[in-house]
Structures are given as C-alpha cells and as structure tokens.
C-alpha cells in the first residue's frame, strides 16, 4: 500500500516544518488530487494513525479533494475526472494512481484526440495549508 509511504512522508514533512519554525501546528490540510483516485477515508485514517507519537500528534488533519483539471494544449479544452479517468479500465487507473502524469499515456482529449495534455490541478497528494499557533 503506497498510501502509507506517502502519508508517512507528509507527517514527517509537516513535523519538520513545526520544528524549523519552532511553533505548534494546530491544523494542516492535505489536498488529495482526483486524478490518482486515492481513497479519501483511507488517507484520513492513515494520517491520524501515523501522526500518533509524532510532533504533530495534536494537530488536526483535514482532507480536501482537489478537482482534476487537465488542459488539452491542442484545442484548449479543459477536462476533469469523469472525462479522462472514469472511462478507463481498472488496470489503467491503477497506473495513474501511482504516476498521475501518465494520464496522457492512457487518455486522449475527448474532443480533438490529442495527447498533449497538461495537468493543471488534482495530480496527487500535497499539503495545501498549515495553521500555526499564534
């Protein structure tokens, strides 16, 4: 389960930030991109589990879904999850789950057929916000 690895990395990165800043962190928000089809509940569970015993044990972890926005650089149409990912088979979605940038290997622009796709948002998992204690 590579979600556990990612979550461990996130908890460590946020803890490092708290240490560097010398401040307590009250909340932090993790944006989960749609493209990679992560299970939001799983990420939340893992975050709460992994942060136990860490420097940010008491910080509240919030999860938000980041909408996928993929630009076709040929015709300038913008596509979302239901256009590019939903039509794919389980196996293909699994590959994009690991490496979201591979969307252009598996999907084309539904309008013009181009693979010149650029991910504008919603690729993977990132920390989008950190709130420190004053």
């Amino acid at each position: 389960m590579h979600e556990l690895v990612i979550v461990s990395g996130i908890v460590e990165a946020v803890s490092d930030l708290a240490r560097r800043e010398g401040k307590r962190i009250l909340t932090f928000t993790v944006a989960v991109g749609e493209l990679a089809s992560f299970d939001k509940n799983l990420i939340e569970e893992l975050l709460n589990e992994v942060k136990k015993g860490s420097l940010i044990e008491d910080a509240e972890a919030r999860i938000e879904i980041e909408r996928a926005e993929v630009l076709c650089k040929s015709c300038e149409a913008i596509w979302g999850f239901s256009d590019l990912i939903e039509p794919l088979g389980e196996n293909e979605r699994e590959m994009i789950h690991f490496l979201p940038e591979l969307v252009s290997s598996f999907s084309k622009c539904p309008k013009c057929g181009s693979r010149d796709l650029e991910i504008r948002s919603g690729r993977g998992i990132r920390v989008s916000y950190v709130e420190f204690e004053e």
Binding site: V5, I6, G9, I10, F98, L99, S105
Partner: protein, 262 residues
Amino acid sequence: MSSRNKLDYREVLIPKRLKAIKYILMIASGKGGVGKSLVSATTALILAKNNLNVGLLDLDFHGPSSSVIYGGLKMPSEEEEGLVPPVVEGVKVMSIDQFVEGRPIPVSGREKREIIKELLALTHWGDTDVLVVDMPPETGDVLLTSLSYLRGRRGAILVTTPSKLSLKVVDRLIRLLSETGVEILGIIENMSRLELQDKKVSPFGLEGAKELSSKYNIRFLGSLPIDPEASLYADEGKPEKLIYTRFGLELEKCLKKTVLLD
C-alpha cells in the same frame, strides 16, 4: 530550477530511500540512440554476476527499454515499504515502462520531473550496493533534476558512439556534469567497430572518444563493438545471455577499470 517545496513528501522520502544505496552509477549520453540503455541494462547484469546487490532504474523516457531487454517486467509489488521492484537475474528493476507497457509517454519536462520524483520516493530498493541509473537522454532540466535528487556517493559513465554528433553532445554533457560536481568515472565508446570474420571495420574512425577523454582528462574505459548477437538478445529479452556476448565481455573489461569492480 524551481525552489524546493519543503512540504513535499517526496523531498522527505527520497534522501531516505537513497541512504540504503551505497553507490549510484549514472549512465548518461546526452542523446538517444547510442546504446545507453543497452549499456545500462548489461552493466547492472555484470555487477550482479560479480556478487553485488544491484538495482536498475530506467529513466529513459524516450525509449525505456530495460523492460524489453529483461524479457518483460512484472509490475512492482505494492508493499508497506513502497513499490518493490521485480528481480530479474539478480537485478532489481524499475522502469516507467512497467507502468505504460510500451505505450508512448507524451509528457513535458515538468511532468517528467514529477514522474522522476515520484519513482524515487516510492521505490523501495532496500540495501543495495550499486543503483545503475539509465539517465534521461538529454542535457536539459530533466537531467539536472535527476542529478539534484540522485545524491550520495555517485559517479557517471558516459556513453558515446564514434560519430561527431554524439561526441559533441557528450562534450557538452561533460561540462554540465563538472559544473554540478558529479564525478565522471570514464567514457565508453559504443558501436565503435564492426567485426566481419577477421576484418575490423571502424566507419567513423577510432580516435574521437579517446581525444575527448584526454581533452578533459577523463579516463577512457574502452570501446564496444557493434554486436548483432547482443542486439538480438536485447530484442528477445534474454538477459542471461547478454553478459556473455562480445559486447558484454568487453563491457565487463571497461567496468573493471572503475571503482565498481576492482
């Protein structure tokens, strides 16, 4: 290069992954088509045969071929530690091709950099003596990103053909690497001659790579013949045979001149 996002989990994970690796051997050529991937894949096999614990990371977006050379790779397995690469002939192999299975990878520079970071962060190599990296075939920012993440004890072997174009690109690559402080273990000249019965034909001359080596005071490790047998075994995915071809045996001699096998 863009500044590092300290909250990016990959920035935390990559150094930890690489800590388990004693030496990172980067195989670079600056351009494609010179045999960089064949040299990388065969080098990994040779090192493994010499009882080293070896990984091969294929970052050659333009033609990820380690999957073909290794006879078709299974997907890495998803374990608690991350993605665990399949092992072929004693080599742990990770390639973008395992994910796309021969499909094109039409991605921009920024996307390539994301993929490289993700692969480095997620792959669980475990204790490894040498990680051979088939470097991106270019001299631009994707190469620089790879260099900036592949930290630790590291060195590069440069592959060129005798052609003027290849030599020129490697010349540029040498200057780039010296700016980034990467040690160059040596230069290998690939496809240097054709051996027909008793006759050796060197269509491009023999001195180019040697001259380049002495210009920069870099070790010339040797030259590899055009070897139809090696090319056949690569296409057929017979790694166990590759190391015993003329190409493989000559390559082993080159590697014996480096810290990797002495």
